[in-house]
Subunit: 340 residues, 2 copies
């Protein structure tokens, strides 16, 4: 047992126990929704496997809560595999999760585009296939800030992952086949784009010091969810200016149809107060008007975070005829919950 660093400004015991202690809290707080397999470190929907339903498995490094464990439950994920903080889970976790949620209709792996996650989910899918479980994978890569990055070849997977897990979960709940669930998931990623800005770094419990240095008047424009560098480091500007440039980056890449309807998602990275998230949402509304785009659905809050980083990411999903109903469908998870 290590001794807790007394100057770590966190509600933790031993830093190396944070993930499993937090999972114990998640299981204790939500026994009506989920259970935790502590041997394999997997969060499971309470009644998994659901016979005849496509199983949804996601996972990745911890520190982004509620993603993914907070999205386990009816209408969303069947399982989440949390790695250590900012560290990919291992293939054995993913294989255990895949087996645990297979109800005979196959399993969809939802993978954010980070090298470790991609490699390990690929291996787990091959192992599951050896066991006779049909697995499809969908990769999220919605971050328009940078091509390639510290831990990524190609674009990073960020905010669209939250929406994708909700929408694909609804499709599976409605009896969609594995091919159909994978198709709608792919469509969500194709129609979604994101961009993040950080004002502060976060501190991982094991490091005990900021992940990156940033000046008192600076922001990281295009930051990744582990504090990876974005497009540039620059002086802080007003919310209006920051949101305008981000909207241009997202909408310039997405190129939505004139008159398009979008789901507008303003996400806090962990340390930004709600009052600022809504200031950003108000600014986003003005930018959408400028592009002739309407926000037909919204999501505002901390859903994919970087521990206590002060920052905001914006995700826009261009809706089509099917997506709104899948978004509105009932969901029962710790972090997203509505309907019966």
């Amino acid at each position: 047992m290590s001794v807790v660093t007394q100057t770590l400004k966190k509600f933790v015991n031993a830093p190396e126990d944070v993930v499993k202690e937090s999972l114990a809290g998640l299981a204790a707080a939500h026994p009506d929704l989920l259970r935790v397999d502590f041997t394999n470190q997997v969060v499971l929907r309470k009644d998994a496997p659901v016979a005849g339903k496509v199983g949804l498995v996601s996972g990745g490094g911890s520190g982004h809560e509620p993603l993914h464990g907070g999205f386990v439950g009816r209408g969303m994920l069947d399982a989440a595999c949390p790695g250590e903080i900012f560290t990919s889970p291992v293939p054995d976790q993913m294989l255990a999760a895949t087996k645990a949620v297979d109800g005979g209709a196959g399993v969809l792996h939802i993978v954010k585009n980070y090298t470790g996650d991609v490699m390990n989910f690929k291996l787990a899918a091959e192992l599951a296939d050896d066991d006779g479980i049909k697995v499809e994978s969908v990769l999220t890569n919605d971050d328009v800030a940078v091509e390639d990055s510290l831990w990524t070849a190609g674009r990073r997977g960020v905010g669209v992952t939250v929406i994708l897990e909700k929408v694909a979960g609804a499709k599976a709940e409605a009896g969609g086949t594995l091919a159909e669930v994978a198709a709608v998931a792919t469509r969500v990623n194709d129609r979604g784009r994101s961009f993040g800005v950080a004002l502060t770094s976060c501190v991982t419990p094991s490091a005990g010091s900021p992940t990156f240095d940033i000046g008192p008047d600076e922001m990281e424009f295009g930051v990744g969810i582990h504090g990876e560098p974005g497009r540039r480091r620059e002086k802080i500007r007003s919310a209006a200016e920051i949101v305008e440039e981000r909207a241009d980056a997202i909408l310039g890449d997405l190129k939505p149809a004139k008159g398009a309807k979008v789901l507008a998602f303003v996400n806090g990275l962990g340390g930004t107060p709600a009052i600022e998230l809504y200031v950003a949402y108000a600014e986003l509304t003005k930018q959408l008007e400028r592009y002739g785009v309407t926000a037909a659905r919204s999501l505002v809050g901390n859903y994919i975070t970087s521990l206590e980083m002060a920052g905001i990411s914006i995700t826009l999903l261009e809706l089509d005829d099917e997506l709104p109903a899948l978004w509105d469908a009932p969901v029962h998870t710790p972090a997203l919950r509505w309907g019966t």
Copy 2:
């Protein structure tokens, strides 16, 4: 127009516009749930007034979001009156809200125990009475950390306010009379106790510097939601030790019946990551076991905050036969939403 301070580490435009710009974002994001009367600075349930239903009005300084504006909607508040940051709203706001939600069955004012809020809500109730609207008031004063405080005579009103607004909202939705809604609200306050701990200060946009100074290895044990001093300043300890002492303070004061069931609420003050909130919940579960108390319901997240303060408050509500069903009843607000 003032010039935005370029070194303010916040997503804002002019600091003095934060509250109204944030309300514009709230209105834009949730048109299905609420609307904002910008003239009177009041957040209103979309379909207020509801004929024959008791109206619920709360309010207080901004900076504690989602409290209270994020709790406006069917099954919870009919109106919220946001003041400037950490500043009481004025009687005119409260009167306008009271008039707007009066459906003929009277109006309940839910008031956190801070001197300005108490005084202004009292005056608004008198003015409403002059207009022939029947008003009852309930005061929350659940914080066991300190008697009297910077802005309070007696105990401060904190976390129990969230639960009270949900429970009283359900009672009103079910057709309770003003006396019945006021009675259940009073009961929730009587059966609830809270205690908060801060690891960092917050920064208000207008001040631009920390509300209080705190050392890199210190915590404020018993902090208020505006950063008011608590019981003592001390060195940071482990999550287990912090939660144990808080549980003792709360349960020693609440003195629940042996075998009691509680609603256990672990609240983030704004800058604490979800992973730490769940570590705290796991520790709280151990403490409840020690007292022979069971958590029959839970709530974990940022619900009554102090901007981006790193800190956690714990609230325990001793349940009775009626309260669980009122808690479980449908609610449709930006921050608490379940059921149909």
